[in-house]
Symmetry: C2
Subunit: 148 residues, 2 copies
């Protein structure tokens, strides 16, 4: 199992997670806590709005996608808090019972000028369906310690 530091990663490296099934209960629970728009937790409201079923809050899909990335466990030692993320696009709805997995690719490795012991990795994170369709895409910044 890898334990990457900033210096071990370079553009083009790609990582893929296993897939996980998202249950109706999880979608409803998240929506009721954080995004209680009826089409995220009430099937009749979703149908009235023209959808075949409820769909996960985009914040739920984003958070779950991050969990799939976290479980890749790419760096245990070098991790530092992330400064943020960018370009989050909700492309397709995530429905109950659907499986998702993620593909994460290093886009850019930026050594810190002010802190020579750390650097920033710009990753593209794609969340995909079992059929390989993109559900969500985002660019995540990961800050890691440097070797030596």
């Amino acid at each position: 199992m890898p334990d990457f530091w900033f210096d071990d990663l370079s553009p083009g490296q790609t990582f893929e997670s296993p897939s996980v099934i998202v249950t109706r209960e999880e979608i409803i629970d998240f929506a009721q806590k954080f995004d209680p728009n009826p089409f995220h937790h009430n099937q009749e409201a979703a149908r009235a709005a023209g959808y075949s079923d409820i769909m996960a809050s985009g914040f739920h899909t984003l958070s779950l996608s991050f969990r799939l990335f976290f479980d890749l466990n790419l760096w245990r030692t070098a991790i530092l808090p992330s400064p943020g993320l960018d370009g989050i696009k909700f492309i397709r709805p995530l429905s109950p019972g659907q499986a998702i997995w993620i593909r994460a690719e290093v886009l850019e490795a930026i050594p810190s000028r002010s802190k020579p012991d750390q650097g920033l990795l710009r990753f593209r994170h794609d969340t995909l369906s079992d059929a390989g369709e993109v559900i969500l895409t985002a660019e995540c910044l990961h800050r890691l310690r440097r070797r030596g």
Copy 2:
């Protein structure tokens, strides 16, 4: 209580939420589900990493901030699914027991060219502490129906 449509909103309009206290249990629960880095749920690990206490996952702060925005209940009729968000910056840690509130400002109103019955509102969402310090900032896209 307002029920805005796309046409009712224009750059500069600002909305503020009440504040809500984030509990230790909520921070730990979210972290264990979506972002189980030890400094998000284990106090000893957080201290060993140089922090005074655990801090909420950025995805938790982001989701909570959206809930505060949702509860402003600005549009009930005109809401359509959002295409995404941008420029999320985790600026300060959110600790257990801390209160947060949000300030949301319309940055841009973009009528859709392909769908004349809808438009996109680019909002800036700032999540603030009770002392008025920015904890998180993001640009959220909200898609709304147009009048008439």
